[in-house]
Symmetry: C2
Subunit: 282 residues, 2 copies
Amino acid sequence: MLITVNGKVVEESSHAVSALDRGLLLGDGVFDTVRIYSGKAFRLGLHIQRLADASRRTGIELPRDLESLLLTEIQRAAEQGLHDGFLRTTLTRGSGLGLGAQPHVPTVITVLDRLPVLPSAWYSDGIRVVTAEGRRNEMSQSSGLKTTAYLDSILAFRAAAQAHAEDAIFQDTHDHLSEGTASNLFLIADEAAWTPPVECGALPGITRAAVVEIATTLGVPVVSDRALLPILLESSSEIFLTSSVREIVPVVQCDGRAVADGKPGPITREIMNAYAEMTRCR
Amino acid sequence: MLITVNGKVVEESSHAVSALDRGLLLGDGVFDTVRIYSGKAFRLGLHIQRLADASRRTGIELPRDLESLLLTEIQRAAEQGLHDGFLRTTLTRGSGLGLGAQPHVPTVITVLDRLPVLPSAWYSDGIRVVTAEGRRNEMSQSSGLKTTAYLDSILAFRAAAQAHAEDAIFQDTHDHLSEGTASNLFLIADEAAWTPPVECGALPGITRAAVVEIATTLGVPVVSDRALLPILLESSSEIFLTSSVREIVPVVQCDGRAVADGKPGPITREIMNAYAEMTRCR
């Protein structure tokens, strides 16, 4: 694992961040995770753009040299034989208490590592999901931003594990489908692909956007601007989740019910193959 | 300022926390702030109880010796001449990525300091508030917990400052009054005190509970179990905010409209006096 704090390489075991960091004390931070394939980040520009949007909406400063900082990290990892993995960039407003404080120096943390071990059965056989008890807040001022506020996702993930499921699906506060704990949701129904809009609390995922491109190319119309009812989880012929780290994961069981015949469906497989191709050939 | 991390005193300028702390990367943390008057914490037991409740609901471990840790800190501050201030305790799940991770060692951070400078005019003349653009999520699994997720409060606070107001009032996602950015809301109307219920996303504030006691003693009936409509902000004769750090702050203007005659009202003043008495005589 390679870690930097404000551009300086630090050890995993070291103490490298202030106890007064606002990311730590007040969740005053945003982040982004990009996948690295064969020593190259996939769609790094879009990831940096999303961080820049978050910076504009939150007033958390974006380091001017962020792209070169990240490219340096990726290069350094490659030199150490780490060619495939993920790079997470966290930005916080810096150190200090007080809701209105605007410290002079923001904090930039990068973590570059191999992927977590993802069971291959997830991709061959699919995963089980449950409906999260809590709701995504589509009416939050930070909705659609990748902020560091993941406690609700953590609680939903833990509840899912207790229910022998691998992930959870959130609804928004007005009973529409939103997203997974750290992924976007796609449903195949009536020969179209449906994904909850950002207005329902979904992250504008970069893998989500890539899947929209792929589905369109494959002749599968995509609906991404309509609020979706939870009943669609029951009537869909296929369901899958998307994220940069996990890519495309088929969902074969939802709240104990099988999705269609309980096996990853043909459109999901086609999209998985096309995405694998897309990340290989940049 | 006195800071400890996992029981060890650290310097304000030092790097004392891991760059992989889950509080920092995932908002996987809760906190509490207690006021210290004349070297003694006000209602410390209730604050520790609230942290224990948060620990139970989140699975973030509560240090067994937390009370003695905090008492040691308060004692140490008193020895250095710091008799009045606040003590903030932050608990995170520890270090490591992954939504489902449960590290062996949680992180405990304490910060003890003098109060921030609060303008005396806030108390003599009252403050101005605006309605926050974003909403509190009363349907979150962590609703009612004092988690470190304060970005929405920070954004609302910054917007309030831009609108020449000192604070903002949140509604929940179903258009009911909820709370301030870091305080509970009270309204005086029809000779009763009204405060939004925890079910509308309000924190179960310890100062809020003290004010309920005081109002009842003063013969002012308190309604704390009814969802309140925002129109009540316009029809109230008095409004005030409560928190451990700021105590009781009169609100005299809301979204540009004066509250009644634009001066702190008589019931607010009576409650402020009684609270001052209560914190002096423990």
